[in-house]
């Protein structure tokens, strides 16, 4: 199938669903409005996921990457399309419990779908202009979503901070793209590669500037230090489902375009960007972990943990050149997928606590297992997976990343990575201790609370994925490997 038609199909599915959801807000009955919007978005995601899986199956039987000027269809695109849509599915489902009864729910679902479409388009984009369009389609709805609870000052603050820095990053990205266009006369990624290879001035200051601006622009979304400042506030202020969407979903979109631009389009500049990424990786994981250690709110802790995890993924970028290129990129894809699942699970568990107990400070987690056994179990498993304890999925992708780092002659980065993993266990285990070992504090009851049903189901599904991929990692590893080998 031609890539353009394929992308068009996604666009149609999502746009129709999204418009349908927002039109339902015209209905008079509040109950009808939100249920209808919920089921409409669920249907869209289900159809689109099925469509993606079908396409992967077709593609695997007869692998022929197709390119047009704007899009290319390869396994990498599908890999990311699956990842982000899975996260969207988790988020939409959990909203059934978490957001239920909020105002403007049909708008909420409609915007979620638009943003998801933006991420899917990003996965397929092969042209810098297409990238910026998809990037904005992904980002702008999330600015609104972060501030959806307009009576809540934290939500407003989150939204404004996120919007200002997000708009800033889009501007930087646009500037990087215009520089690239000025240097090469094209915005098509393969053509950029050819033009830069042909030109004698590939290392002139403007190229380096464009490179730096690309890193900064993507870095905002990827939560790379020093572009991470908005993350903790935004994640804490936004509705927790939206924080999940941001950290497990849109952040991953940053990584797919980074692979497209750096690894595929600018490989001969690698001496410049690999060092930059190595330093950023070190700074990101260390700062993320150290800051997470000191947090009193679990949402903020997970926000910093999410920054630290981005640092591990950046290790893969730092060594994404020969001889470790294949392994490094496999590690990046593998960890992106794993992190999407682990982070969704952790954040949604917090959402469940937030919804039922009301506060997500660490104190409300004391002895949680008595009150919410399913939520506690899912949170404990996802935290252990984030820490990289085998046999859970996070261990395998970290193993691949660290091996790639040593293979790529950056053993110091691998050492920093494992020490950071050890550091991170300090706060992950602390939460587990809080839930399972500490006595309940203050007025907290000990009796069992009715756990939100849909979130619990989502959590169990995510936990199952974490454990199954831990025992049988080849499921995703092989797919990631095929995707990387197809990149060439």
């Amino acid at each position: 199938m031609s890539a353009t038609i394929l992308v068009l199909e996604y666009a149609v599915i999502y746009t129709v669903g999204s418009l349908l959801a927002s039109m339902l807000s015209l209905s008079k009955k509040a109950g009808v409005k939100q249920s209808a919007a919920f089921y409409a978005s669920l249907a869209v995601l289900a159809v689109s996921l099925a469509f993606t899986l079908l396409n992967i199956a077709i593609y695997l039987i007869e692998p022929k990457p197709s390119f047009t000027n704007l899009f290319h269809e390869d396994l990498l695109s599908y890999f990311f399309a699956i990842t982000v849509q899975l996260v969207s599915l988790f988020v939409v489902l959990s909203s059934r419990n978490y957001m239920w009864g909020d105002r403007n729910l049909s708008v909420y679902f409609s915007l979620l779908l638009f943003s998801t479409l933006g991420m899917v388009l990003l996965a397929f984009a092969a042209d810098l202009l297409m990238i910026i369009v998809a990037w904005e389609l992904m980002s702008i709805p999330t600015y609104v979503l972060a501030g959806l609870r307009k009576d809540n000052p934290f939500s407003n603050e989150a939204s404004i901070k996120y919007f200002l820095l997000g708009a800033f990053s889009s501007g930087i990205l646009l500037y990087a793209i215009s520089l690239t266009y000025g240097l090469t006369g094209t915005t098509n990624l393969p053509a950029v590669l050819q033009a830069l290879q042909a030109s004698a001035t590939r290392l002139d200051p403007l190229t380096i500037l464009a490179l730096a601006l690309f890193i900064a622009g993507f870095g905002f979304k990827m939560s790379v230090v020093p572009f991470h400042m908005w993350i903790p506030d935004a994640y804490e202020g936004a509705p927790t489902t939206i924080s999940t969407f941001l950290s497990a979903g849109t952040k991953k979109a940053g990584f797919v375009v980074a692979i497209r631009v750096f690894v595929v389009a600018l490989p001969f500049l690698s001496t410049n960007w690999t060092t930059a990424f190595a330093i950023l990786a070190l700074a990101t994981m260390t700062l993320g972990n150290v800051a997470a250690l000191t947090q009193r709110s679990l949402t903020r802790m997970l926000a910093y943990s999410s920054i630290a995890q981005a640092g591990y993924i950046l290790i893969g970028f730092a060594v994404a050149t020969e001889p470790a290129k294949t392994l490094a990129l496999i590690g990046v894809l593998f960890h992106v997928f794993n992190h999407a699942v682990m982070q969704s699970s952790a954040f949604l568990a917090v959402a469940a606590v937030d919804r039922t107990i009301g506060r997500a400070s660490l104190d409300s987690f004391a002895s949680l297992w008595r009150r919410m056994p399913i939520t506690s179990f899912a949170l404990a498993v996802s935290l252990l997976a984030l820490a990289g304890i085998p046999p859970l999925n996070g261990f395998w992708s970290k193993l691949v990343l660290f091996t790639a780092a040593i293979q790529g002659d950056m053993a110091w980065l691998a050492l920093a990575g494992v020490l950071n993993s050890a550091l991170s266990l300090g706060y992950y285990a602390w939460v587990i201790k809080r839930m399972y070992i500490d006595e309940p504090t203050g007025s907290m009851g000990q009796s069992r609370i009715k756990e939100p049903a849909v979130i619990s189901a989502v959590l169990l599904a995510a936990t199952a994925i974490i454990i199954i991929l831990g025992i049988y990692p080849s499921l995703i590893y092989d797919l990631a490997k095929a995707a990387v080998l197809a990149l060439g």
């Binding site: 085998p390 660290f402 053993a411 691998a414 070992i437």
Partner: protein, 499 residues
């Protein structure tokens, strides 16, 4: 040898059984106690059968019952690959014995949250057997890390007053050691041709400089577990806070992971460095022995004293294995390495009875403080008898096999360098502080107002069972040495010794 995957059964009967036990325990608590006993006895029978076959075949040096390598993570060298030689088989045997005894002891000493407790006990047993028979470094690491999780909860949930601190300290210490060790494994994988994590294929293939770096990295992992002074500080805290049955697991099995790692990885595949730099490891071993013995001497808490004795005894393992690998004569090498393995086996049983007994004493007398426990010979005569019998095992007097193993290690060490004869002071110190402890607790006057409850008969039998292997092996040491000696010889020759 057999078509039945006996090693997989040994690993997965407890792991699958753990879920069953948990579900049964939700129905009725008594059921989960009985079910865990049945499962551990089945595993014990199976491991005895496995050990018997290995012993009869006299193939202690090579890997038997091999399963795999089956591809686990495609093209990344991670295989499901199991096998046992003399070292693994004897440690699996003692693991299954201790598991039965620990379940029995827990019946008396664990009163709350039973279903999840027995779930964790079986998970621990399965994964520690997995550690001892993995032939792939990553598989080994996976089991190695799974062991941490039950232990963290054991200490944290069922522990004493400072359980939270002890549990976190244990987790952080061992995890830091483990991840650094993992780096060493990755180094080995990347710089060996062909790239592999499989232990049998790595023997003699690793370049010297990689061996050097990997030895440094694995020292962090194995050294924390053994524990080697100065990486030991988590151990006294963990032991003091852990409930008595868990201390048995901790000292009897978890520490063995360190000793096993040193022999399997350092002596087995990093052999050149181990032989050349043996003096470094030996120095750490002697330091550990002296530190453990001297600090144990001044302890007031009975359990802390036993914990430090454990450090002292595990120093013998480090000393024996590295003295053996660097020995100049074959005889010395076999004494050293076999002595170290034998010592691990004996230490597990001897320290097991002491820890379990300290739990009973704490339960009955309300204190473990040596100065407050007085007149046990009158107040609790049965306890006093078991305490004396157990202490004799801890002192390694020649009525138990623990005497033999320490003697073998010291002989092996002297054959390397006569200065190492200084280690004969260690048993002397150990005897001194144990006798002093007995003098203060057993042989003192019973204060009038104190009334103790004595051990129940069932508990006493459960305790005396620990001593059975120690008696038996004094008379028939070849039951263990028969499978271990050929391995020691092979390791020694593999390191270029005896030529």
């Amino acid at each position: 040898m057999l078509d039945v995957p006996i090693l997989s059964l040994l690993i997965f009967i407890p792991i699958v059984g753990s879920v069953l036990v948990y579900l049964l325990g939700r129905l009725r608590e008594r059921l989960c106690e009985l079910a865990s006993l049945v499962i551990t006895i089945v595993v014990f029978a199976l491991s005895l059968y496995m050990y018997g076959l290995l012993f009869a075949s006299k193939e202690g040096a090579s890997f038997s019952f091999v399963e795999g390598p089956f591809n686990w993570l495609g093209g990344f060298g991670v295989d499901y690959y199991l096998g046992v030689d003399g070292l693994s088989a004897s440690l699996i045997l003692i693991s299954s014995i201790l598991s039965v005894l620990v379940v029995l002891g827990s019946w008396d000493l664990i009163t709350e949250k039973k279903p999840i407790y027995y779930f964790l006990i079986l998970l621990f047993e399965g994964s520690i057997i997995g550690v001892f028979c993995s032939l792939n470094l990553i598989l080994f690491y996976v089991f190695w890390e799974i062991v941490l999780i039950p232990m963290f909860f054991f200490i944290g949930v069922w522990g004493g007053p400072r359980r939270k601190y002890a549990a976190m300290k244990f987790l952080i210490f061992t995890y830091v050691g483990s991840v650094v060790m993992l780096l060493g494994f990755i180094l080995i994988y990347l710089f060996t041709t062909p790239n592999t994590f499989n232990i049998p294929e790595l023997v003699g293939k690793i370049p010297f400089w990689v061996q050097l770096l990997a030895s440094a990295a694995t020292f962090a992992g194995f050294g924390v577990k053994l524990p080697v002074v100065p990486l030991h500080t988590w151990l006294p805290d963990a032991h003091v806070e852990a409930p008595a049955p868990i201390s048995v697991f901790l000292a009897g099995l978890l520490l063995k992971m360190g000793g096993y790692g040193f022999i399997r990885v350092n002596l087995g595949i990093l052999a050149d460095v181990s032989r050349q730099y043996a003096w470094v490891f030996i120095s750490f071993g002697i330091l550990t022995m002296f530190y453990g013995a001297l600090v144990a001497m001044v302890q007031r808490d009975l359990k802390r004293m036993i914990a430090l004795t454990s450090i002292n005894h595990m120093g013998f393992v480090l000393l024996g294995s590295f003295a053996g690998i660097s020995a100049s004569t074959t005889q010395g090498a076999v004494y050293g390495i076999s002595g170290a393995i034998f010592q691990m086996f004996n230490h597990a049983a001897a320290i097991g009875i002491l820890f379990m007994l300290s739990g009973y004493i704490h339960e009955q007398a309300g204190t473990r403080n040596i100065d407050e426990l007085k007149g046990l010979r009158i107040g609790m005569p049965k306890t006093a008898l078991v305490l004396i019998l157990g202490s004799l095992a801890g002192m390694s007097v020649p009525i138990y096999s623990s005497f033999l193993s320490e003697w073998m290690v010291i002989l092996g060490a002297i054959s390397v360098n006569s200065w190492y004869a200084i280690t004969v002071l260690i048993p002397l110190l150990t005897v001194a502080y144990f006798l002093w402890m007995i003098k203060r607790t057993v042989l003192s006057q019973l204060p009038e107002r104190i009334h103790y409850h004595d051990l129940r008969n069932r508990a006493m039998i459960g305790l005396l069972l620990y001593l059975v292997p120690l008696f038996l092996l004094l008379i028939l040491p070849s039951l263990i040495l028969g499978v271990v000696d050929p391995l020691s010889l092979l390791l020694y020759q593999g390191a270029g010794g005896g030529k």
